[in-house]
């Protein structure tokens, strides 16, 4: 089964508005990391009758804004673990809601976070099915839905 851009956009927008209270707008540009700064990627995998993953790529500054909204604290008061925790929960909520749109028995993994300047996170055997780029408070981020290639055409 194929999830549409609209399906994923609605999930991301609801997480951002209901849980973070932050406004986002669809971007008219691609997402590229500023490799001189810290960047984060939050990933959850879905396994079972449908297999794929959700990845959220964003600059650390935006992850800190999101964590600030979730913890109700100023961005510079937050520790590193709190920023990673918040991004993990954002990825979990997006992944859980994507899973809710899929038919069949599936399991959601716990989130994992990668961080660094210039890096890549890959899920071997999968390809990007939907890619959305947004701007939130002037900071870009992207959300990717990856699908296992052996079922991408199903």
């Amino acid at each position: 089964m194929q999830l549409s851009e609209n399906d994923l956009r609605e999930v991301v927008e609801s997480v951002w508005s209901a849980m973070l209270g932050l406004e986002l707008v669809p971007a008219d540009h691609g997402y590229s990391r500023d490799v001189e700064s810290r960047n984060l990627t939050g990933t959850v995998q879905i396994t079972g009758e449908w297999q794929g993953a959700v990845m959220v790529d964003l600059p650390e500054k935006l992850a800190r804004d999101a964590a600030s909204a979730m913890f109700g604290m100023e961005p510079d008061e937050l520790g590193e673990d709190e920023v990673l925790d918040a991004l993990g929960e954002v990825a979990n909520m997006i992944g859980g809601n994507v899973k809710g749109l899929i038919e069949g028995e599936c399991k959601l993994s716990l989130p994992t976070i990668a961080e660094g300047g210039d890096f890549r996170v890959a899920v071997p055997g999968s390809s990007t099915s939907v890619l959305l780029v947004f701007d939130c408070e002037g900071k870009p981020f992207q959300v990717k839905l990856l699908v296992r290639e052996d079922q991408a055409a199903a």
């Binding site: 508005s17 209901a18 899973k99 959601l108």
Partner: protein
């Protein structure tokens, strides 16, 4: 009223605490990071309500709920989870949960759930 909030995400525990605090300013809020820790806490001192995530390390929310019921502990229990598939909800209700509140939720949805059980 004493409420146990169980979630491996500290950020989500903060959000749930904030919402509960607004709806029930006098409630005593206690926290656990996973089902195993929460099970020990309930055994030691049973709360009036458990608000629990589904996916957690050590022991998931549904394992925790089933363990409680197997021990004959009938503490009111609700899921606050990003798991929104109908079969998960059915599993939760069959295991003895009162409700499943889907994440992300609005402040209104959270208040409505709390109002319905208080």
């Amino acid at each position: 009223m004493r409420i146990l909030i169980v979630d491996d995400s500290k950020a989500m525990r903060m959000i749930v605490k904030r919402h509960v605090g607004q709806a029930m300013p006098d409630a005593e809020l206690v926290e656990a990071e996973n089902g195993a820790q929460a099970l020990d806490m309930v055994r030691a001192d049973t709360p009036d309500l458990v608000l629990c995530d589904w996916n957690m390390p050590e022991m998931t929310g549904i394992q925790f709920l089933r363990a409680l019921r197997e021990e004959g502990r009938e503490v009111p229990f609700g899921f606050v989870t990003s798991e929104t598939q109908p079969q998960m909800r059915e599993q939760a209700i069959a295991a003895g949960a009162m409700f499943c509140l889907a994440k992300p939720f609005t402040a209104e949805a959270f208040q409505d759930i709390l109002a319905s059980i208080s």
